[in-house]
Every structure is written in structure tokens, then in C-alpha cells.
Amino acid sequence: MARRRLIQAINDALAEEMERDENIIVLGEDVELAIMGDTRGLLERFGPNRVRNTPICEATLTGMALGATAAGYHVVLHMMFANFVYTGFDAIANQIAKMRLMTGGQMEFPITFLAAYGGGASNAAQHSDSAHPTLMNIGGINVAMPSNSADAKGLLKTALRSRNPCFFLEPASRGGQMGEVPDGEHLVPFGKANVLREGKDVSIVTFGTTVRTSLDAADQLAEQGIEAEVVDLRTLVPLDENAIVATLARTGRMVVVDESRDRGGAGGYIAAIAADKGFKSLKAPVKRVNIPNVAIPYAPIAEREVLPTADKIVAAVTSIVG
């Protein structure tokens, strides 16, 4: 085990996989000097043919990623902030997500998109969005959202060995978070949730930025005598529906926590699975803790108001337990 920051774990995964597979290339705005830190040192190690700064033109970059796979490359496209996914959205939603079907399976798109999402650093509305609800809906693209260093490394390695396109979404304000990473080859499969804490009274189902918050909430709840099970879904596409049904079978109650706007967000979809396949087990309303239907405001006090917090999770849990 090594202690690594989340952003270092990402960097490690990139370096190790690029070492292993010379078909992996990294493109993006400022990947050479590593604006996010995750691509640091890759240029020096792998040279300019494999790590290259691009012009600012997201609409082209996403389409180019598709095109470059025709030459057998696995393209890592760094999109910096999740908001810029919208700028380059045409090729994501109209091409990459659909072209395998449209060509009758002639093509494969080994592309790994990196982007930082979420608030917490007063980056304001155009640098704090969570794009995962949109990405999970367009079909044809996997969505991985690690909550800790080990998963960041293991999920990214899985993405980099996959023949399918994947959005690997990094928690913008948690890149510095430390965690243990297993030594040696460490892969985390897609579509397998992780029960981080067991508990019999309620299930907190979450992923990405809000896992830490949910664990904090579980600590607080424990002090009140409520045992919360915390389930980290790890990937949204594919989604581990069985894990959702299974935890519900154990606890009968569920709060879904994630950092996306509520209306049409990821939380609602997970709650809908509970209301369908998990209905038998349900003993109380399924609650959602996420972002109200607003853009993220700048001032810290206003930003805090709209982000998921341990207090909000505790309140949601206590409203349905006991």
C-alpha cells in the first residue's frame, strides 16, 4: 500500500498504462504542463508524439479523438472542466455515443475523457458543473466517478484497457485527498459497487465527490444510534443495480446522494431503481440529497448552501428512519 493523493493516483495510472500500451496518447489543452496535475511528467516521459497540448477548440477535439481511434490509438482527451464538455458536446452525443450502432458495429472507440467536476472552490457556475446526468443519458459512453485514490487508479486503468469510450470524472475539489493505493497491478472493474460501511438501518447510496460526505454523515448518524450502510457505486455506466437492490434488502431504507442537480439528475434514476426492482424491500420514502435546480453560485456561503453536506444527509436519513 502507498499513500497517494487522488490526483497522483490518476497520474500513476496514466503513466503505468502508457508504459504498458504504446497506443495510448494524451491530448488536451495544457496537458503538457498539466493544469490539473494529473498529466504531470507524461510529456517528459513519453514525448511529444504521445502527449500534446491542443488549441482551444473543444468541438474539434472530441471529434478528433474519435477519428484518431481509426489508427488504432486509445485517445485520452483531457477536457479540463466538465463544463467544457458542453462546448465539445456534438461529437460526444451525436457521434461517439451513436456511431458504433450507426455503423453496425464496424467501429470501436477506445477513448478516455478526463474532466474535473463539481463545486466547493468558488469556481462559479461555469467551472463547477456536474455533467454526469447528461453523459449517462446519451448512451454508448461509460461513466466512471471515483471517490478515492485506489478507485481512481483502478477505474482509470480499466478505462484505459477498454475498447469503449469512457468519461472518467475527477472530483475538482478533492484532487488533494489522500488515500491508500494497493501495490502492484490494481484494476477496479466497471459496474461493481463497493460497500464502504455496513449498517442495518438505512442505505446511503452515492459515488464520486459525495462519498466522503456520506461517510461523515454515517459517523454522525452512528452517534445517534443509526447504523447507515454506505454504498459507493463507482461507475454510473454501467450501473450496479444489483448492489442497489441488495443494500435495500438489508436496510429497507435509502437516501441517494450525489453532486448533480436534482431535476433529471443521477439521484432520481437511482431512486427509480429502488422504487422498481427494490420496491419489495422499501419501508420508507426514498430521499435524494443533491443540488437544487440552480447553477452553482460563487460566494462560499451561497455555494455551501446548494452543495450536498453531511448535515443534509443526516437530516434526510432521520426523516425516514425511526
Binding site: 477548440c57 468541438a59 472530441t62 489508427a71 450507426m102 455503423t103 453496425g104 464496424q106 461509460n142
Partner: protein
Amino acid sequence: MSAGTTSENRDTLSALLERMVLIRKAEERLSKAAQAGELPGAVHLYIGQEASGVGACSQLKDSDWITSTHRGHGHFLAKGGDINAMYAEIWGKRQGICKGMGGSMHVADVSKGILGANGIVGGGFAIATGAAYGAKLRDDGRVSMCFFGDGAANQGVFMETMNVSSVWKLPMVFLCENNRLSEFTVSSTITAGNLVDRAKAFMPTIVVDGNDVLAVREAVGEAVARARGGEGPTYVETGTYRIHGHLEAEDAFLAGGKYRSKEEIEAWQTKERDPISRFETYLTSNGIMDEAAIAAIHARVQQQVDDAVKFAEAGDDADPKLSYTLMFADQEA
């Protein structure tokens, strides 16, 4: 038109003609099928523009890449795509080149370097540029050609990809088919200046008579040589005209409205201007082929098209469940 007439040359010229005739007859047959309500979806036909796609693709190898447009049948056939597989696709059959999943606007054959027709106007720019980037990194000698219309040249990705191709000296050819129309809009009403001037900031440019197959072939030959030689992208603009409506059954959409005159269309259909009859005149008047040889091509192609219709009609319905397994490699949707 100009070209020496060695016998190798004669074969080439005959092949150019045959390919143009194939596209013409294939599209005319689709028009009939569309009018008869035999096709599930809409078709956008290439009639009148054959010299552009055929001249351009005649300079490419199977291993070179093209991206195409919503008006993609001509490019597909010009680049060596199989008419049977294309027809089966348009008829929605399992034997279709995309198994019936894509239809007219998405015909693709990766084994022939055809990265697909595209329903998004401008959708091909970035894909072609990415393919060119891949080719450059691999140093595999491949060239990537992006076909696009004058309407698509107003999409910003045009400039973005010119910038990338130019700054990275990618083996790209920007092949603009300027047919003066964007759907039901006369392009000059929505387009500033001359398109070629946009390209001049980035790369060498050639504007050519797009109804002259040899002129197109020559211009694209230069562009492809430059790309293969590592000298970067070229912009080639072929001036041409679309004879049919934006899509078949256009009249239903127009409801009596008009965006061009009958006279304008007819002026592009004269024997002197039509890309095929014009080339035939060239071939016969230069003694390269005689009427009989040309008639033989027409007959052969007609047979090929008729056979393709039979092939398509005899095909099996697409697999209704296939979608679930096609979204991902080795993963259910």
C-alpha cells in the same frame, strides 16, 4: 479537360466514367424507390455532383480515409463502397453495410476507409482531422479527406480543423463541394465572401470546376501529393450543383414555396455542363472511347443497379435486437 491518352490512361478514364455513371444510375433508382414509398427513411441524392466525388476519390487508396455528409451515397460509391451493401442498408436490411442500423445518412465501410456519411452538418471535419492525426503519428502514409458542403463551411469546426491540420501539418484534404445551396436556402444569402478565402489563412487552396472530373482529379492529385509528402493540408473547392431537391419528396416540405427556378436547374443539366455527358463528349471527341464502349458501360452499370435492388429487396429485415449489443464492444447497453 486535358489528359494524355496512353492505354493505361484509357482504363483510368473509362473507370472514372463508369464510377460516375454508377452513382448517377444508383441515385436515380433511389429517387424512384423513394417516390414509390419503398424506402423507410429520407434520401439526399448526389445527382449532378458525380464528378466531384469520383475525381477526388480517384486519387485515394482504399487505406486512405474519407468522411462524408448527409449526401453520402456518391462518396461511398466513389471510394469503392459496394452498391449491394449500400442498397441493403438503405432498404433497412440485415445485409446492409451497417446491418440496417444507420441507413442512408450513415453508410460507412471502414475496410474501404469510409468513416461514414454523417447526419450532422459539419460532423466530418473533426473526425477526418483525427484520422489524419492518427495517420501522421503512425506515419503510415495515409491521407484523410473531408467532404463537406458550402453550407457546412459556416460551421465553426471548419476553421478549428483547418487550424489544427495546418499547425500540425496533417495529411488532410478539405474537399468543399460548393453546390450553392444549403437545404432550401441559397447559400450566398447566409455566407460572407468566398469560402476559399477562409482557407487561405491556413493552407494552399485550389478552386476547380466541380463538374469536370479531370480537373477535380488533377487538383486533388496535387493536394494528396502534398499530404503524402508531409507538407500538410490543402483546401480544394469544387463548384457544382445539386439537381434534385435537398431530399427526395422535397415538394411536400416546400408546400408550394420556391428557393430556385426551373431555369437555373436546367442550365446545369445541359450536355455541356452535366458532368457525365460532358465527360462522354470529351472521351468520344478525343477518340478515347467510342459510343459503343460508353453504351456498354451504361448497360453494365444498369445491370449492377438492378441487381442491387434485387439484393436489397431479397435481404432479411434488420435484427430488431441488435441495438442492445451494438452500443458497446463486449457490453450490453
